[in-house]
Symmetry: C2
Subunit: 331 residues, 2 copies
């Protein structure tokens, strides 16, 4: 079976040659995937000359456009084109490099919601010391509301199962203390409700410093806090990289391959590019949000995530697991 993946190459803040490089690298190693690039013909000439499909599109959604401007704008932007192709089943997955809020708003406008869902959420896989885990929401919804948070617990569990988590999922809620009386009232209410269900193991509150200790498979948070957490990790990774380079420079290394290899090893684990790509789930289609500054490595990682989700039959299996877990009782 051939998977067809569309990529919006216009929303990105990285040079288009890096996007092209990532796309070509992915295509070279994934012959079962057909790539369709949406963007400027001039930028995409190397893509076309390598035999990949291109849809010419000049109009990007600007990172600085407001939602009102985006929803009002004519439907010729690369984001509109990509989401429409997905809605019409011309592609199996869509990778966007642009503005999250625009993707969320236009996504909801173009694609149906899955049954029982209130709002889409952004979910991303991380690696703890022991195993993968998933965090949602990472910025699709900024309100900290009971019904959203409850649904994220079910959504996240359904997604983790769809992406091959075989054990009974351990679900935690991100808070500023582990004890049951800590944090905002809404989180404490959500915790009480989650502790009463039997579909997954609710392990209580988790603090952000313990995220990588492998305590939970699914971490639930509002999109504002989730985004602050995500960007803080990114900031920490960047400053670490800076410190490692500084240490190497101080040691005036020229031929110390070992030290270089350590720096490379640490960097490859921390580098957000290798882990680029988050999923907008809740819509009837595979939609991957790539970082606005994703380079070739990042674009390739986002394309791999799109491929894995199509392979895992998202959103079909996601819908099935979500209905098993929660039915439509939460809507």
């Amino acid at each position: 079976m051939v998977y067809r993946i569309g990529v919006d190459t216009l929303g990105s803040e990285s040079p288009s040659r890096l996007i092209v490089q990532g796309v070509l690298e992915f295509a070279r190693t994934n012959s079962a995937c057909e790539i369709l690039c949406i963007g400027r013909t001039h930028d995409l000439a190397p893509v076309r000359s390598n035999g990949l499909a291109v849809i010419e599109c000049e109009k990007a959604i600007n990172q600085h456009d407001s939602l009102v401007e985006i929803l009002r704008s004519e439907s010729s932007s690369s984001l509109h084109v990509g989401l429409n192709l997905l809605a019409e089943r011309e592609i199996d997955a869509f990778v966007s490099t642009g503005n999250t809020a625009a993707l969320m708003a236009l996504g909801r406008h173009t694609l149906p919601m899955l049954p029982g869902w209130i709002r889409p959420a952004i979910i991303k896989r991380f690696e703890s010391k022991k195993s993968p885990f998933w965090i949602l929401d990472l910025g699709a919804n900024i309100a900290r509301k009971r019904n959203l948070l409850l649904q994220f617990a079910y959504l996240g569990t359904a997604y983790a199962k769809s992406m091959h988590l075989t054990s009974k999922p351990r679900v935690a809620v991100l808070n500023i203390g582990a004890e049951a009386h800590k944090g905002p009232v809404v989180l404490r209410r959500v915790a009480v409700e989650l502790s009463r269900q039997r579909h997954f193991d609710f392990v209580g509150f988790i603090e952000a410093d313990l995220l990588f200790d492998g305590i939970a498979d699914v971490v639930v948070t509002d999109g504002f806090s989730g985004n602050i957490m995500l960007k803080s990790l990114e900031g920490a990774a960047k400053i670490t990289h800076h410190y490692i380079r500084e240490a190497l420079d101080k040691a005036a290394l020229s031929n110390h391959e070992l030290a270089e290899s350590i720096a490379r090893n640490v960097n490859s684990r921390l580098n957000s590019q290798s882990y680029n790509g988050a999923s907008l789930i809740g819509l009837d289609g595979v939609v991957i949000k790539s970082h606005g500054h994703a380079d070739n490595v990042g674009i390739e990682a986002a394309l791999k995530l799109a491929r894995d989700e199509v392979q895992a039959a998202i959103p079909k299996r996601l819908k099935m697991h979500f209905q098993e877990l929660a039915g439509t009782t939460l809507t």
Copy 2:
């Protein structure tokens, strides 16, 4: 002039021998400071035998006690004792290793607020690639309210000036996007109000991935988001340390001193212990919150911060700068 610093040694989750070790190391190198340890005589025997003062106290505030329990409890806990000594000017600064919520609640109960202040806030110094900067609130207040956030901007600026920032402070508000239309309505309102004042340079919204780029001297956020950010950075530092050790183990290093020194260098910069200590500001007294898991290095760092604040004449200078900036117009 001799500075008298009190340390609550009971609230900590670290072994008391580490606390003792940190206290003794600080005392050895800071002969102008008199240390007063509050805790169990048995644990503090080495402190006493080194000639430092000890107040015997058996009753700790439990990390798991609720605020109601803490406020109801009799006033014999180490936290009560320390804050009372500070209120009576028997000590110039108090370092707490316990529960933040308990410190905040009992601190407000025991010490007067500085004039014009609404609520205390927790502020901490960080190092960007270029210069130090300060973030507040880190968990004293969980509500995201306009008047609190506005006051944090003035508070943070006054604190940075008191701690010797000489340039005109650049103030930013933590948000999930840099553009003026991003994030919750309350943050956008606060940004409009801050952009209209002339006491400091308001540089707009900042995303957490750019914290270490040296864009702002003071970063304003609500205590919930600030705490999530702080703990995320801590989690990232821990997993980085894990990766560096893993890389060293993989390389099967025995005599590769260079690689070890790189790991040490990076770790010393990222290690939250060396940067342990946040300040509870807004109360008429120097109150330092040390991490509950602080080891000897962490305790020593918290004591140094207490010393620096006494030296900088906090809260007197803080009060002066705050009144210059905002008067009492914000209350």
